[in-house]
Symmetry: C2
Subunit: 413 residues, 2 copies
């Protein structure tokens, strides 16, 4: 009687928290002028092999369908984005600013903050080479977190520039086919001993450690920091060139977002990938691009552990009353009249509930309270008047039934 390992049931309280996160994601992405799109949950496995090589297949839910197609539950959105953009980009003015909220799947060992499915917000800008796009995208990532009540004391954006490193490697005369290997060593250096890293880097160890000690400087990083400073968001950001992101396809500014305390996995990550769409679409569309993804699991953990954010979420859910009006049927002979009023109130958009079978009046009021209703309307002895009770104040008024809608419009404003 359990879901599969790594999969979640969303009971109503879980679903309310999920919808709260989705709602903020959607609202803030739209403030930035992003429009929503989506792709299929099932794609040809080849789409992922093309981008990430055969090793990704080891982490996929994939199978051969009844039509002999090798198909996979999507592990990420970018390959679908490249497919869709290559097929349709001519229909749209550049840059595209697209976001998507969807579910993704990986067959991985379950750990804290990592399940076999999660929901992700993806935000991408397609067809824009200027650094202003990088600044706007990072500002969006920060504002998403701010919308949950998370501040610069709770989260940090670690900002880096992959081109800073590729320029360095070029200046050192390192052959291009060794770049990815060295970038991965730098990416891992935080989690390994300096000795180990030095050994791996060989003759590059001294200049790399010098650069890391200097903290990394680049005009591009300065420009991004200035842009975020203008927007009042610089306190959220640390320049940290140790971040290069393992994936080979990033070409410029990259970033990862963590909780300040450093207890959790990454909340989000992304950067510029100017060559990827062309590669994935077999040269179908050569468009500079950048984007990031933010998952619901680690974010949900951080909201839960941060008092300010948790209280904001709880309040928002509480204020979104599942029921506004509860109809108390004190006498069964009033049920038919009550039904007419229930229909009219629902037609006006109110959330209305009532007892489906006869029940004692105190029990009905108890149900009204439990459902979080704002008012109870009693169909009983005062007929043809009804009694409207404000459940917060306890105040009760007798209202002619033909004035009920008007009365509630004012009370519930």
């Amino acid at each position: 009687m359990q879901p599969l390992p790594g999969f979640r049931d969303f009971l109503p309280s879980d679903c309310a928290r999920r919808n709260y996160i989705f709602g903020k994601w959607r609202e803030v992405a739209r403030r930035y002028g992003f429009v929503e799109w989506d792709g299929p949950i099932l794609e040809p496995t080849e789409l992922y092999r093309k981008k990430s090589g055969d090793e990704i297949v080891g982490q996929l839910f994939h199978f051969v369908d009844k039509g002999e197609r090798d198909v996979a539950l999507r592990p990420e959105l970018t390959p679908t984005l490249a497919r869709v953009v290559a097929a349709h980009e001519r229909e749209f003015k550049k840059p595209l600013k697209w976001f998507s909220i969807g579910q993704f799947f990986r067959y991985e060992k379950q750990q804290r903050g990592r399940l076999r499915e999660h929901f992700q917000l993806n935000c991408d800008i397609i067809g824009e080479a200027s650094l202003t796009a990088d600044i706007d995208l990072i500002a969006l990532a920060i504002d998403l977190l701010r919308s949950f009540g998370l501040s610069e004391t709770d989260v940090v954006i670690r900002l880096s520039d992959r081109q800073f490193w590729t320029d360095f490697l070029r200046s050192q005369g390192v052959a291009e086919d060794r770049w990815q290997e060295i970038l991965e060593i730098i990416d891992k250096s935080e989690r390994e001993s300096p000795e180990k890293t030095k050994e791996k880097l060989g003759e590059l160890a001294a200049p790399v450690f010098n650069l890391l000690a200097e903290g990394g400087k680049s005009n591009r990083l300065n420009e991004v920091m200035n842009g975020l400073h203008t927007r009042g968001l610089a306190d959220y950001v640390n320049v940290d060139v140790r971040i290069v992101r393992g994936l080979a396809y990033y070409t410029g500014i990259v970033f990862e977002i963590f909780d300040r305390a450093g207890k959790l996995r990454a909340i989000a990550g992304g950067g510029r990938y100017d060559n990827l769409i062309s590669q994935l679409s077999d040269g179908g569309a050569a468009l500079p691009a950048l984007g990031f993804a933010m998952g619901d699991v680690v974010l949900g953990e951080l909201i839960g552990e941060t008092a300010r954010a948790r209280e904001a979420m709880d309040k928002a859910i509480r204020d979104d009353h599942p029921i506004e009006i509860y109809i108390v049927i004190a006498k069964e002979e009033r049920r038919e009249s009550a039904s007419r009023h229930i229909q009219a109130l629902r037609d006006h958009g109110y959330r209305v509930d009532y007892p489906l079978t006869a029940a004692k009046v105190p029990k009905q009021f108890q149900t009204a309270e439990q459902l979080g209703a704002r008012v109870a309307v009693l169909f009983g002895d005062e007929w043809p008047n009804v009694a409207v009770k404000n459940l917060a104040s306890g105040e009760q008024q007798s209202v002619p039934q033909d004035k009920l809608l008007e009365h509630l419009k004012i009370t519930l404003k």
Copy 2:
């Protein structure tokens, strides 16, 4: 460069229509006091075999995962509902009124109105035996359609009572193990010749055809019709006892919803299934229950073909401006000041866009129009004032920059 056969990409305009449908579904279900929940998209294949027998497996996307589990993409929600309700029902007061919006999958031949995935609204009431629940559920199904601007001239609810038939079979002394077979013959009788049906029914042909000719009468159907009449919804409903629904698990009132013209597949269907939760949960929870599902594909087709509904959808999407304010940067030296204002306006919840690179002013205004912005704010020669242009009326005003937010609050109210 195509999605898999039977799967859809949702470009921004498709996604807007999808979100419009989801939004109405959510809004109207909540008016009726339903709360949202969800289950996993992947479940053990056994869960579906248990309910529907081995033949369902032929229509599933199912496979053996890396942990040797036989798993399936969910074809429907009810088995998951039974699993979750059996595990958690003690935590909730009855009746549960739960709805869910999610994606479902079947490996079937593609036809009009039938893909290999679709989205479905599921609404279920758990733990309530009274007919009032059936009435409220059908009223909800009707109000969902009304919310899209569909009227009784566009859609019809075909209402039936499976118990009407089981009472009849009992009265005829037919053994219970033959009921399902006979019910399926009646269900198919619409699509077969009367001769064929008569032949299949044998000695039951005469009484069955009598009942069909009478149109079917039952106290229960009368009570449901009266309830819908009280709510002003009876014109949407035809009693039609030919509907018995093929699935064995229905026990009482059942219904299917079609377009009046009869051109499309069913828009929705459901009914009472008082024994199913107990069966599916191995006796874990004996709870009367009822529910229905409504898919997005046929509904979307009907909205598209019904002028009133299509116009309402187009208007709602248009009125939900992707961009409210477009910032025109007439001089690049104003970009930094503009950035500060953009950040402040977004912080106040406005949807704001601007050119990421330098562009000619007329081109920027053109972009503002294309994005559907309501106002353009020009940062240029009037500095330290800015020019606010109402894009609908063409009216333009010079506003001191420190009064911009205040001015826009009034303009965009």
